[in-house]
Amino acid sequence: MSDQVLEIRTPFHEFEVGFNVIIDLITPSTRVLDLGCGSGTLLARLRDEKDVEGCGVELDQEKVIRCTERGIRVMTLDLDHGLEGFPDLSYEYVVLSRTLQQIINPERLVREMLRVGSKCIIAFPNFAQWKIALRYLLTGRTPIVKTFPHPWYNTPDIHRVTISDFRHFIHDIGGRIEKEIFIIKDTPGTNISWPNGRAEWGCFQISAQ
């Protein structure tokens, strides 16, 4: 098998459905902290569509400046350093969209998210999706796919996390999964059979027990 990229998915944030899934979860007129907020697209939509008071965290300078130019409140912070300084339960929602797999210590960050937010929304690519898994099995090599688009030796996606992994992880740290949404071929759904093998993306709403 060649190294060509499997044509199965689009990055979560780049298509409307990724945003829409998160936006649908959020109650209007709440406070939302978006970790790894990029240029502030999600927060701008939440502000305009749901009257949300948002704050973003981003490390990339160009993206931070874009946020400022769009009137999005933003902080230059490294998520690998945790959320020190954010008071307990100071946000209704803390969002971590397609960044979980890039955090050095996801446990520490997710525990921090549960401390800071009443509810946390975490969306990540599912490495157990059957096409990826099959490719992994057949070639014996780490697949390069659109959800994990870089070769293993030079990638920000340092964790190859699966939906099943995530469920166990939340259980282990004493969190509670309130909602699960799975995205297959740009279509979100909640009642899906075998999501660990079929979903391209998982989006979870969790809270502290």
């Binding site: 130019e69 230059t76 008071p87």
Partner: protein
């Protein structure tokens, strides 16, 4: 694009000021400049606060054609757009550029205050700025913005006059000066003290006020080293030499005015020191650096969170990656305390290599312009 053009410094007189130390200082003159126009509601005023060696001339040209110290940021279409905002900048209390300071005449003696000028604080400077703002008929400022000492003032403004500003931009500043900062200021003042003011010739009225000592120049050179980064010095000067005919047996201690030293960095510092001597007063330098050293919101309010308790303004904190005099950790301390006090705070650490001076150098202006313009628009 229009330019601001020639700007004239204006002056306002006040009866006086009760200092935080308890003393009274009066009468009081405040030098200031304004750019742009008030809108109908007078709610578009931006107060710009200068750093240690700055003055009221922030933008445009003065009558000698000298460009303002933040002309890159203030003007039509610039970061602080004078087509939208009415911009005010005043010389700080204790300064030597028009506002009452050590070079002003003490009405009790008829002579300049000199070293008898009372100790002042950053809070005193802010109180004077507030008097000016009130006199100009502004009930609420859109923004106060400043870097370094100006950033300390912006922070103090937000704590002290929370109902008089919508937002504050605090650039490369700290809520309490570090011991390292105090140390550099101490060395600077020591240089001045070790080289006392000696009037060149008392009997000659043309040189009676001239000062022969170079202590202030040395103080400025030390300051300049702390405002730059190692990277900038490397890039700008490297180990380049200016006096190529040095034969390896002679050297310069900078005794020839204008000749400077052997290395380019030496000549640069020599030039900066000399030009500073011509434009600044050493007693002002002493009194202002003392005020910077004393600035400590933690000591003043018990802790930083308490200091920020009454803040209602939207706070914007900016630091620079290469600033080792007021490093990011100090801005972070402000940010964390503001968060703990549940205030509206934004924080940007700007990746610029120019050290503490990053907010002043032209190369940093495009980046800073986008950030400041964006924030002001969102207030």
């Amino acid at each position: 694009m229009d330019q601001i053009g020639v700007v004239e410094t204006q002056y306002l007189q006040f009866d006086g000021l009760r200092l935080e130390s308890g003393g009274y200082l009066g009468p009081l003159i405040v030098a200031y400049e304004t750019y742009g126009k008030f809108n109908d509601k007078k709610d578009n005023a931006v107060l710009v606060l200068h750093a240690l060696s700055g003055d009221a001339h922030a933008a445009g040209l003065d009558e000698n054609g000298r460009t303002g110290w933040w002309d890159g940021m203030i003007g039509p279409g610039k970061g602080i757009d004078t087509n939208k905002y009415f911009v005010i900048c005043s010389n700080c209390l204790g300064g030597c550029k028009g506002t009452t300071g050590p070079t002003s005449i003490n009405p009790d003696t008829g002579a300049a205050y000199g070293r008898s000028f009372p100790l002042i604080t950053i809070g005193d400077m802010v109180n004077v700025q507030a008097m000016l703002v009130e006199k100009l008929g502004i009930s609420k400022l859109h923004t106060v913005i400043g870097g370094s000492m100006g950033g300390m003032q912006a922070l103090d403004w937000a704590c002290r006059y929370s109902d008089k500003l919508e937002s504050a931009v605090v650039i490369a500043a700290t809520a309490r000066l570090s011991p390292q900062g105090i140390a550099f200021n101490w060395v600077g003042r020591n240089a001045i003290r070790s080289d006392p003011v000696i009037p060149v010739n008392h009997s000659d009225s043309t040189t009676g006020d001239a000062k022969s000592g170079r202590g202030l120049a040395v103080a400025r050179m030390i300051g300049h080293i702390t405002y730059l980064s190692e990277e900038t010095m490397q890039a700008k000067f490297g180990r380049k030499r200016t006096l190529r005919d040095m034969d390896g047996t002679t050297y310069s201690l900078g005794e020839n005015e204008g000749m400077g030293g052997e290395f380019e960095i030496e000549s640069y510092l020599q030039h900066k020191g000399s030009s500073f001597m011509e434009r600044f007063d050493e007693d002002s330098y002493i009194i202002i650096t003392k005020a910077i050293d004393y600035f400590d919101l933690v000591r003043q309010y018990g802790d930083m969170v308490s200091a920020f308790e009454n803040i209602t303004a939207k706070m914007f904190i900016i630091s620079f990656t290469s600033d080792w005099l007021y490093p990011t950790s100090m801005s972070m301390a402000i940010v964390r305390a503001l968060q703990a006090a549940k205030k509206h705070v934004s924080f940007v650490e700007v990746d610029l290599p120019y050290g503490h001076d990053s907010f002043l150098v032209p190369q940093g202006m495009p980046t800073l312009t986008r950030i400041v313009r964006g924030f002001l628009k969102g207030v």
